[in-house]
C-alpha cells in the first residue's frame, strides 16, 4: 500500500487514488495532422522505465485533483510531487510542494 502525498490533502493510502500512467503526455493539438503511426504512438506508447518515472495520479476518493509524481519504479520511493492544477499557479498553496 503506497503512501502518496496528494498536493492538497496530504499523505493518503494508494487506495484513494487512481493511477493515470505517464505524466506530461499532451493530447496532440491537431490529431488530424498526424500520421497513423504518430497517432498510434500517442494512443498506445508510453515510457516504461525501470527507475524514476513521472506519472499521474488522481486523488479519486479525496479532492479529485490530478497531479504528477516522480516515483522510482523499483523502490517505489516517491521523489517528487507536483500539483498541476491551475489554482496552484494563482497562489493557492498545496500542502506539499
Amino acid at each position: 500500500m503506497l503512501l502518496i502525498a496528494c498536493p492538497w490533502c496530504g499523505e493518503r493510502d494508494e487506495l484513494e487514488f487512481h493511477y493515470g500512467g505517464q505524466a506530461h503526455v499532451a493530447h496532440p493539438a491537431d490529431p488530424e495532422a498526424l500520421s497513423d503511426g504518430e497517432w498510434a504512438e500517442y494512443l498506445f506508447v508510453r515510457d516504461n522505465p525501470k527507475g524514476p518515472f513521472a506519472e499521474r495520479w488522481s486523488h479519486a476518493a479525496g479532492c479529485r485533483r490530478w497531479f504528477s509524481v516522480v516515483r522510482h519504479t523499483v523502490t517505489h520511493r516517491i521523489l517528487a510531487v507536483q500539483s498541476n492544477h491551475p489554482t496552484a499557479a494563482d497562489g493557492t498553496k498545496p500542502v506539499t510542494a
Binding site: W8, C9, G10, R12, D13, L15, G62, T87, T92, P94
Partner: protein, 204 residues
C-alpha cells in the same frame, strides 16, 4: 409547500436500530442519522472577488486550508473544504434555497457552480469514546487528536465507501456524509464495527 410526510431519509426507517446499537459508558459509541441537512456543492476560484462576496454573504470565509471547516453566519452554516476549488456548504434542514440564492447572487458572473446535493448524501453521526476506534477499523486516515480533531474534515474511504468525514467534537464525535445508495451498506458496516463495544473488553 411540500408535505414533509412524503420525505424519506435513507436511514429514517432504521432510527430505532441505530439507537438500539448505541452504547454509553467509557467505551461507548453512538450512531444516529442527521437527516435532511442542507448541502450545497460550491465550486469557484478561491481568490476571486466572488469568494470574498460569498464570505460576506455566508458570514464565514471559505476555508482555504485543505481539510478544514469554517462555520458561522446567522444560519449556522458550516463550510467544508473539499478541494482547492470546491466546498460543501452545510446548513440546517430547509436552508438550502436561501443559501443557494445567496451563493448564486454572490457568484454573479464569475465562473463557478452551486449545486444542491442535499439529497445526494445523508449524514451519519458517530460519537462516543470508542468512535475513533470504530472508524479505525476501516479508515486509514490518522485520526489521532494530534493530527485530526474538531474542525477537520476529509474526503476518504471508510471500508469500501467514499465518505466525507467531519469531526465535530473532541469527545470524539464525527459526521460521515455518505451517498444515498451506499448508506445501507455503510450502516451495516458501522453497526458491525460497533458490536465490539457493546460487550465487555477483552481481559488483559
Amino acid at each position: 409547500m411540500t408535505a414533509d410526510t412524503l420525505r424519506r431519509s435513507p436511514l429514517g426507517h432504521l432510527a430505532d436500530v441505530l439507537a438500539a446499537h448505541s452504547t454509553g459508558g467509557e467505551r461507548g459509541v453512538r450512531l444516529r442519522e442527521v437527516p435532511f441537512l442542507a448541502q450545497l456543492d460550491l465550486q469557484l476560484h478561491p481568490h476571486g472577488p466572488a469568494a470574498q462576496r460569498i464570505a460576506t454573504a455566508l458570514g464565514t470565509p471559505l476555508p482555504t486550508a485543505p481539510n478544514t471547516v469554517t462555520a458561522g453566519g446567522p444560519d449556522d452554516l458550516q463550510v467544508l473544504w473539499l478541494g482547492p476549488q470546491e466546498w460543501l456548504v452545510l446548513g440546517p434542514d430547509g436552508s438550502a434555497p436561501t443559501t443557494a440564492g445567496l451563493l448564486r447572487a454572490a457568484l454573479a458572473d464569475e465562473p463557478g457552480s452551486v449545486v444542491d446535493v442535499g439529497a445526494n448524501r445523508t449524514t451519519l453521526e458517530l460519537a462516543g469514546p470508542a468512535a475513533r476506534h470504530v472508524l479505525e477499523k476501516g479508515c486509514a486516515l490518522d485520526l489521532h487528536p494530534r493530527v485530526f480533531g474538531p474542525g477537520r474534515c476529509a474526503q476518504t474511504l471508510l471500508g469500501k465507501v467514499n465518505v466525507i468525514l467531519h469531526q465535530v467534537d473532541a469527545e470524539p464525535a464525527y459526521r460521515l456524509l455518505v451517498r444515498g445508495s451506499f448508506t445501507q451498506y455503510l450502516t451495516d458496516w458501522l453497526l458491525d464495527a460497533m458490536e465490539e463495544y457493546r460487550h465487555p473488553p477483552l481481559p488483559a
